[in-house]
């Protein structure tokens, strides 16, 4: 941009159009013209900065200025500051009201600080990695100590059952168990159908269609019923625990509880954890029934195996051990899901975003631990030979 050439930027606002302009003349005087107010400021400030960089700016002439607000005044000051080697370049012919506003802004406006340098990209990545690692380790440790505290609380309640809060316990059993029946039943029924069709398809190649019953029975009872149900519950109840306790945390309700002398572990966490430990095994039992029912229906349609045949074969092929192997995992998974849900809820800090983040974490960690625990149990049962 050569001196003398006009730099014009304008923007429209409201009903009438607003004109704002910056014009740098050959003497190095920048003419500030029109409205320097917040809304049209973006464009005109950019063009003024461009003009300043392309040729020297020695003074600003404010005689053409019609309206000014604090953001406009700030833009002018920054311009004057950046153009002057030390201190401001002169601001000429301001109208009295503009001069007053500039005074106010000069008083409040500190020197422009250079933006902090973030260091090299690799350094930033390493720093982030280290920070995350430390935070994760610290949180794992906190979770561990939370598990300890909760266990002690629950043991204490078992010794002194009169301190138990029965109402929340029952209502949590209703919320986590009874209300989950439709979705748990439907999903396990469908899984039973899927397993039966897949097994029938493969086994009929060997003429062993009847073994479909074995694979449905063993698969559903040992693994699928408990796994599917626990994952649904982690998504359904784990997240609910975190959101409930988390929003109480945001409202300072937890602080209020502590101040009154109520122990949140005893009042909030123990009933939830115990409720889930009661309702999940019941749900898993129901899920097993629904899964086998789904398999039986599929077998009836795909293989012409009647319900009676299916039941007889089930009794022969599937020992009661398979049922126990499945259901014994349920309380453990319930305890882990509920503990993580409560822990994440208590970790919520007092802002709205943190409730969402903690709820997500609660579900992700819950599902992860469900599968991890299942793997550990599989190895365990392999070793003891069940």
């Amino acid at each position: 941009m050569t001196p003398g050439e006009a730099t014009i930027a304008s923007a429209t606002d409201r009903a009438e159009s607003i004109m704002s302009e910056f014009r740098l003349d050959a003497n190095g005087t920048g003419h500030v013209i029109g409205d320097w107010t917040t809304v049209p400021l973006g464009a005109v400030e950019r063009s003024a900065q461009k003009a300043r960089k392309s040729s020297p700016l020695k003074a600003l002439d404010l005689s053409g200025l019609t309206r000014l607000d604090t953001n406009g005044a700030l833009a002018l000051l920054r311009l004057a500051e950046q153009a002057g080697a030390d201190g401001l370049i002169p601001l000429q012919n301001p109208k009295p009201e503009h001069a007053r506003l500039l005074e106010v802004v000069i008083k409040a406006h500190g020197k422009d600080k250079p933006l902090p340098e973030g260091g090299s990209a690799i350094g930033r990545v390493l720093a982030r990695l280290g920070e995350t690692t430390i935070n994760q380790a610290r949180e794992a440790l906190e979770l561990l100590s939370f598990v300890g505290a909760v266990t002690l609380t629950i043991l204490g309640l078992l010794i002194r059952p009169w301190r138990m809060r029965w109402k929340p316990l029952i209502s949590q059993i209703e919320a986590t168990g009874l209300n989950a029946l439709p979705i748990v039943g439907l999903l396990n029924f469908l899984i039973g159908i899927v397993i039966a069709y897949q097994a029938a398809n493969q086994l009929s190649k060997f003429g062993a269609q009847l073994l479909t019953v074995d694979s449905v029975g063993v698969g559903v009872l040992r693994e699928l019923a408990v796994l599917i149900t626990a994952i649904i519950i982690a998504g359904r109840s784990g997240s609910a625990f975190t959101a409930q306790i988390g929003s109480m945390q945001v409202n300072q309700e937890i602080d209020a509880m502590r101040a009154i002398g109520l122990n949140p572990l005893e009042v909030l966490c123990a009933p939830r954890i115990m409720a889930l430990m009661i309702s999940l095994p019941l749900l898993v039992f129901y899920a097993g029934v629904m899964g086998i029912l789904g398999g039986a229906v599929a077998a009836m349609f795909a293989l012409d195996i009647t319900m009676t045949q299916f039941a007889k074969q089930l009794q022969v092929a599937v020992s009661i051990d398979h049922f126990w192997v499945g259901i014994v995992k349920a309380p453990v998974m319930a305890m882990v899901i509920a503990t993580i849900g409560c822990f994440q809820g208590l970790k919520v800090s007092s802002n709205a975003e943190s409730v969402g983040r903690r709820t997500t974490q609660s579900v992700v960690q819950g599902v992860f631990f469900v599968i991890a625990i299942d793997a550990v149990f599989s190895i365990f049962f392999l070793i003891i030979g069940v």
């Binding site: 409201r14 400021l41 973006g42 607000d69 604090t70 953001n71 409040a108």
Partner: protein, 270 residues
């Protein structure tokens, strides 16, 4: 109302009626706010001070009446005009109503991001300017609202309401919950900003000191309508609530009760 008058009025409310179900909050209410004045709004609990403010800024829908803000009639002119109008007022809600997941700086930048095309570093230093203007220390910029005290949250809320350099500033109980010194400082701050920036300020308050310190005129909400005047003129009105409010239990209580006793049957007149 002629157009000439609209030029001098920042806000003009005519015949406003608001109601929630069967409950009528305002009935045939008129309110004129002049450009550049500081207007206090007072009234007993439940007389609809906050509702009035929310109705003027369009958060509540009026059942009847016409609201003109800066020459623009509410509900006319379509979405773009409404958006342009929203740029020209700032609102300070009771507890600041800061966005809890953003820092103070980001809170102040939020309206600027939405409504302007300022370059990043100008926007950043504009936010810092607003922080300084509202009397917050510079290190408050990168704090989250939960890390601030109640008074600082109010200042941060004020800084955000000033982000776009509004023509009108709405304040909902700006000094409630502050200690007396903090409240007095906040009053001075508002007055200083109002003078420097030429703002029109509409302030709901229960703080008698605030009213005396910074309000030129006061609107009293009584019987679903408003009485606007300066405090000395308002005190001449023979309405028990006004008398009790401005007379106060201390100092003027005796005078007020004597006046009430003298003129029980005289109606409210301006």
């Amino acid at each position: 109302m002629s157009d000439l008058n609209h030029e001098e009025l920042a806000i003009h409310v005519e015949g406003l009626r608001t109601q929630f179900g069967p409950v009528v909050v305002h009935d045939d209410l008129d309110l004129k706010v002049r450009k550049g004045e500081v207007l206090g709004v007072v009234g007993g609990s439940g007389t609809g001070k906050s509702v009035l403010l929310r109705t003027i800024i369009g958060l509540n829908k009026a059942a009847a009446g016409k609201i003109t803000v800066l020459g623009q009639v509410a509900g006319e002119g379509g979405g773009e005009a409404e958006r342009a109008l929203r740029r020209r007022w700032g609102v300070l809600f009771q507890d600041g109503a800061l966005f809890s997941s953003l820092t103070v700086r980001e809170n102040i930048e939020a309206p600027m991001r939405e409504h302007t095309e300022l370059s990043n570093d100008l926007r950043c230093s504009a936010a810092e300017l607003k922080i300084a203007l509202s009397g917050l220390p510079p290190d408050a910029a990168d704090k989250y609202p939960s890390e601030l005290s109640g008074g600082m949250r109010k200042r941060a809320g004020l800084a955000r309401s000033l982000a776009l350099d509004p023509d009108i500033l709405f304040l909902d109980e700006p000094t409630a919950g502050l200690d007396p010194i903090g409240a007095a400082n906040f009053d001075l701050l508002i007055l200083e900003l109002q003078r420097a920036l030429g703002l029109t300020v509409v302030m709901i308050t229960h703080d008698l000191d605030s009213l005396h310190a910074i309000c030129e005129r006061v609107a009293v909400l009584i019987n679903k309508k408003t009485q606007i005047d300066t405090i000395p003129n308002l005190m001449k009105i023979d309405h028990p609530w006004i008398q009790e409010y401005f007379g106060g239990p201390r100092g003027r209580a005796a005078v007020a009760s004597a006046e009430r006793a003298n003129a029980v049957s005289v109606g409210v007149n301006e």
